[in-house]
C-alpha cells in the first residue's frame, strides 16, 4: 500500500479519528439507526454521502487511486467509533469490498469503481459465500462460462452478502475456466435477483441469484491467484473491521452498564455497590481489555510485517477474541440492567443485536478458532 505523501500515517489516523468523533457526536447515528431499522436498505444514503465527504470509504484506498492511503489503524479507529455510536451505514462492508478492488490488477473497471467509491457514489458489497460455514474459495458454486466475444454468462447464488441490499454493485467470487475469479456485477444487471434477508440488527443481508446473467469482458476483475489474493484481502479486512466494530460496541455496552450500576438505586444503595455485581462488571472489563490488547498487537505486528499470512492468521485471532468478549459483555449488559435491558428503548439492545450479526458474519468464534488452529504455528517454545 502506498503511503500518503504529505501526512505521516500515525498523524493521518489521529486526524481521521478526531473527525470521526466530531461527526458521530453531532449527527446522532443512533437515532438514524432506529429510524432505518427494518426497512430497506437499513441505512441512509444521504448520510453515506456525508461519510464519503469525510473520506471514510477512501481510508484504505491508495492515494494513486484517489483515496487517503491510510492503514488498517485508521479503519479500526473509525469503524470502532461508528459501532459504538450505532452507525447504521455499511462502512466495514464497503471498506472490505473495496480492498478486493485495490488488490485486483489494474484495469479501467477497477480505476472507475475506486474513484466512484471515494466519491461516495458507489456502495459496493463483497459476495464470496455460496453457503453457510467455512469460506472456501476453491469450492465451485457460482460458475461463469463464455458467452462469446469475451463476455461471461454467470449462474449460481451467493449468500450472506452483508451490505448487499441497496448496494450499487458486487464483487462476486465465481469459477471460470476451472479457476477462481472475481467479477464486478452492477446491481442493475439483467439476470441478477437480490433477495433481502432481515438481519438480527434490523439491517439486511442479500442473497444474489444469478440466472444466466451476462457480463461484458471488462467486468472480470481478476482470475487465478490474484483473484484469491484479492478476495482474501477483502475477507480479512472485513474480519478485522468486524472485530473493531465488536470492540467498539462492547465498550459502549460496558460503559452503559457501568453508568447504570453507579446510578440505579435499590435497597437504598447504588446497585454497583453490591459485590456480586462488581465482580461481574470486572470480568466484563477484563474481557474488553484483552480484546483491545489483541487488536493493538495485531495492528502493531501488521505495521512491521504486512504479509497476507500474518494478516489472515491475525484476522481470525482478533475476530474470535472480539466476538467472545462482545458476547460476554452484551449478554451480561442485559442482565445487569435488569428488565429495562430487555426493552427496545434501551440502547443496550442495539449492541446485543449488532453483536449477534457480527458474531456470525464470515465465521463464528468457533470457526475462527478452527481456522487459527490450522494457520498458526504451535505455541510451545
Amino acid at each position: 500500500m502506498t503511503e500518503p505523501s504529505g501526512v505521516d500515517p500515525d498523524e493521518g489516523c489521529a486526524l481521521v479519528a478526531r473527525s470521526a468523533a466530531d461527526y458521530l457526536a453531532r449527527s446522532d447515528p443512533l437515532a438514524r439507526a432506529r429510524r432505518w431499522r427494518d426497512r430497506t436498505p437499513g441505512y441512509d444514503r444521504e448520510a453515506w454521502r456525508e461519510l464519503a465527504s469525510l473520506g471514510w470509504p477512501a481510508l484504505l484506498i491508495p492515494e494513486a487511486d484517489g483515496g487517503l492511503g491510510l492503514g488498517l489503524d485508521s479503519m479500526v479507529a473509525v469503524v470502532r467509533a461508528g459501532a459504538a455510536a450505532s452507525l447504521p451505514e455499511p462502512l466495514t462492508e464497503v471498506l472490505a469490498a473495496a480492498q478486493a478492488l485495490v488488490h485486483a490488477p489494474t484495469s479501467a473497471t477497477r480505476t472507475g469503481l475506486l474513484s466512484r467509491i471515494v466519491a461516495g457514489e458507489c456502495i459496493v458489497a463483497l459476495a464470496v459465500q455460496d453457503e453457510a460455514g467455512p469460506i472456501d474459495l476453491q469450492r465451485i458454486g457460482t460458475v461463469a462460462v463464455s458467452a462469446g466475444q469475451g463476455a461471461w454468462r454467470v449462474t449460481g447464488r451467493k449468500r450472506f452478502v452483508a451490505g448487499g441490499v441497496g448496494a450499487d454493485g458486487y464483487v462476486v467470487h465465481a469459477h471460470a475456466d476451472h479457476q477462481p475469479v472475481l467479477f464486478w456485477v452492477p446491481a442493475d444487471c439483467p439476470g441478477l435477483e437480490v433477495l433481502a434477508h432481515a438481519q438480527a440488527d434490523g439491517r439486511f443481508m442479500a442473497d444474489l441469484v444469478f440466472a444466466d446473467l451476462v457480463l461484458p469482458p471488462d467486468h472480470l476483475l481478476a482470475s487465478g491467484e490474484p483473484a484469491l489474493a484479492a478476495a482474501w484481502a477483502a475477507i480479512d479486512t472485513a474480519l478485522i473491521g468486524s472485530a473493531a466494530e465488536l470492540l467498539g460496541l462492547s465498550q459502549r455496552a460496558l460503559d452503559l452498564t457501568l453508568d447504570y450500576l453507579r446510578t440505579r438505586t435499590q435497597f437504598d444503595r447504588p446497585i454497583g455497590a453490591f459485590q456480586a455485581l462488581q465482580h461481574r462488571a470486572v470480568d466484563l472489563y477484563i474481557h474488553q481489555r484483552i480484546g483491545e490488547s489483541v487488536m493493538r498487537q495485531l495492528l502493531d505486528a501488521l505495521r512491521h510485517d504486512p504479509s497476507a499470512e500474518l494478516r489472515t492468521r491475525g484476522a481470525s485471532r482478533v475476530k474470535a477474541r472480539a466476538a467472545r468478549s462482545a458476547r460476554q459483555i452484551t449478554r451480561e449488559a442485559i442482565q445487569l440492567h435488569g428488565a429495562i435491558g430487555f426493552t427496545d428503548d434501551c440502547e443496550v439492545g442495539m449492541h446485543v443485536r449488532r453483536a449477534l450479526v457480527l458474531g456470525a458474519w464470515l465465521g463464528s468464534e468457533l470457526e475462527h478458532r478452527r481456522r487459527y488452529a490450522r494457520l498458526a504455528p504451535p505455541i510451545v517454545d
Binding site: 444503595r269 462488581q278 462488571a281 470480568d283 477484563i286 490488547s293 493493538r296 485471532r317 478452527r370
Partner: protein
C-alpha cells in the same frame, strides 16, 4: 556430576549499557549453562536444600539481586531489565527460590531501614545466610489482613511478641521472618501495626508445617509465645508498618500476572494430549485451541503492561487484571489436562503415558494457590471495581 563453579568475571561494568536484546541473550546463555537441573520445572515449591546451589551460583555471579542498587550488591537493573531476567528464568523453567529477602526485605530496608539494619541484614540476605519468610496472614486475618492480632508490646528495649502467623511459605527453611504485628489500637485497624524483623531461632517461636492438599509441606503456622525481639529490629516508625507492607506494589505485580506459569501448565496439557492422541478429536481440539488463544491473548495484554514499564511509566491498579485472567486460565488449562489424561488422572505422581512420564496432577495442584495468594482474586476484583471502574464502595 556437578559442573565447575561458574566464572565470576566477564560482567560488564554496566548492565544497563548493553542493548536490551544483547542483555537478554547474555542472561539466557548464562542461565542455560549454569542452572542446575534440579531447580528446573519443579512439581511444587523449591525447598532451600534444592535451591542452595543455584542461589550460590547466582550470588557469586552478582546476579542474585537484579533490582538492588549496585552499591548494595545488586545489579542495579531498571524495571524492564528485571522483567527480562525474570522472563529468562521462567523460560528456562527455573523454579522460584525462597527469594522474599531479595524481593521484599531488601527493598524495604533500603527505603525504610536504618544504616545498622542494612549493614546487618543486606549482606547475609544476598549470600543466602539469611533466608526470609513473610509473617503477614493470621488464622483470623487473611484477605482482611489489617485485622491482624499478633501483638508486639514494647517493654524497655525489646518487643514481646505473642500470637501466630499462618500460610507462611517455607517457614521451616527460613532463618528470619519479616513480621507485621499490632503495637497499638488506633481509630482505623490499619493504624497501630508495626514492621519487625525476627530471628527464627529466638526462643518462644514454634514452626508447625501444614500439609497441603497435594500432600506437600510448603506452608506453615508459626507460633509466638512471649518472643523477645530487640527494639532495633523495628523497621520504620512504630505503628506505621502497614504503609511499609503496602509500599511494594510497583512493577512487581507484573510478575504475578506473567503468562509463564499458565504456559508451563499448557505445555503439560499438550504433552498429555499428544500421548493420548487427542489432537484428532474435534471437540478436544476446540477446547484446546480456545485455551491456547486465551493464553496468547493474555500474553498480548501482558506485553502492553511491559511496554508501559519500558517507557518508564508507573503501573496502575488495572494491572491486576493480568493476575485474575492468568491464574484462572491456569486453572482452566490444568482442568483440561485432567480430562485429557482420562483414567490416568486418577493416579498420583509420575504416570507413564505412551512413552513419556507425566505428573498429571501437578498442574492442577500448582494452579490452585494462585487465585488465593497475593490478594485473592475476589479481593482483586473488589479493588478493580472501585478504583478502576469507579463503582461505589
Amino acid at each position: 556430576m556437578s559442573p565447575p563453579s561458574p566464572p565470576t568475571i566477564d560482567a560488564p561494568a554496566d548492565w544497563e549499557a548493553l542493548p536490551l536484546e544483547d542483555f537478554r541473550l547474555r542472561v539466557r546463555t548464562w542461565i542455560e549453562a549454569w542452572c542446575p537441573d534440579e531447580v528446573r520445572y519443579p512439581a511444587g515449591r523449591l525447598r532451600w536444600a534444592q535451591s542452595r546451589e543455584w542461589w550460590s551460583r547466582l550470588y557469586r555471579r552478582g546476579w542474585i539481586a537484579p533490582g538492588w542498587p549496585r552499591e548494595h550488591g545488586g545489579m542495579g537493573l531498571s524495571p524492564i531489565r528485571q522483567i527480562v531476567m525474570l522472563e529468562e528464568l521462567e523460560r528456562h523453567g527455573c523454579g522460584r527460590m525462597p527469594d522474599q529477602g531479595i524481593t521484599q526485605v531488601g527493598p524495604i530496608l533500603l527505603r525504610y531501614g536504618t544504616e545498622a539494619q542494612r549493614s546487618e541484614y543486606l549482606p547475609k540476605t544476598l549470600s543466602g545466610e539469611a533466608i526470609w519468610c513473610q509473617g503477614y496472614s493470621e488464622p483470623n486475618a487473611g484477605s482482611d489482613l489489617a485485622s491482624l492480632q499478633t501483638s508486639a508490646r514494647l517493654q524497655g528495649d525489646r518487643f514481646v511478641v505473642d500470637g501466630s502467623k499462618i500460610w507462611t511459605t517455607l517457614a521451616m527453611d527460613a532463618t528470619h521472618m519479616y513480621l507485621l504485628a499490632r503495637t497499638s489500637r488506633g481509630a482505623r485497624k490499619q493504624q497501630g501495626i508495626s514492621f519487625l524483623l525476627v530471628d527464627m531461632s529466638t526462643p518462644g517461636i514454634t514452626v508447625r508445617p501444614i500439609r497441603n492438599i497435594a500432600g506437600d509441606e510448603e506452608f506453615c503456622q508459626v507460633f509466638f509465645d512471649s518472643v523477645e525481639i530487640p527494639r532495633g529490629n523495628l523497621v520504620g516508625r512504630i505503628d506505621e508498618g502497614w504503609s511499609i507492607a503496602k509500599s511494594l506494589l510497583g512493577f512487581e505485580r507484573l510478575g504475578i500476572g506473567s503468562p509463564r506459569r499458565p504456559r508451563q501448565a499448557f505445555a503439560r496439557l499438550e504433552q498429555v494430549a499428544r500421548a493420548r492422541g487427542l489432537f484428532g478429536d474435534p471437540a478436544f481440539l476446540d477446547r484446546y485451541t480456545e485455551l491456547r488463544m486465551d493464553l496468547e491473548d493474555l500474553s498480548a495484554a501482558y506485553e502492553e503492561f511491559v511496554d508501559q514499564v519500558r517507557r518508564g511509566e508507573p503501573l496502575g491498579a488495572d494491572v491486576s487484571l493480568l493476575k485474575i485472567w492468568g491464574t484462572e486460565l491456569m486453572q482452566r488449562i490444568s482442568e483440561l489436562a485432567l480430562l485429557a489424561a482420562e483414567d490416568h488422572a486418577a493416579l498420583a505422581g509420575e504416570v507413564a503415558l505412551e512413552g513419556s512420564s507425566v505428573n498429571v496432577l501437578a498442574p492442577f495442584y500448582s494452579s490452585r494457590p494462585g487465585t488465593i495468594y497475593g490478594g485473592s482474586n475476589e479481593i482483586q476484583r473488589n479493588i478493580l471495581a472501585t478504583t478502576v471502574l469507579g463503582l461505589p464502595r
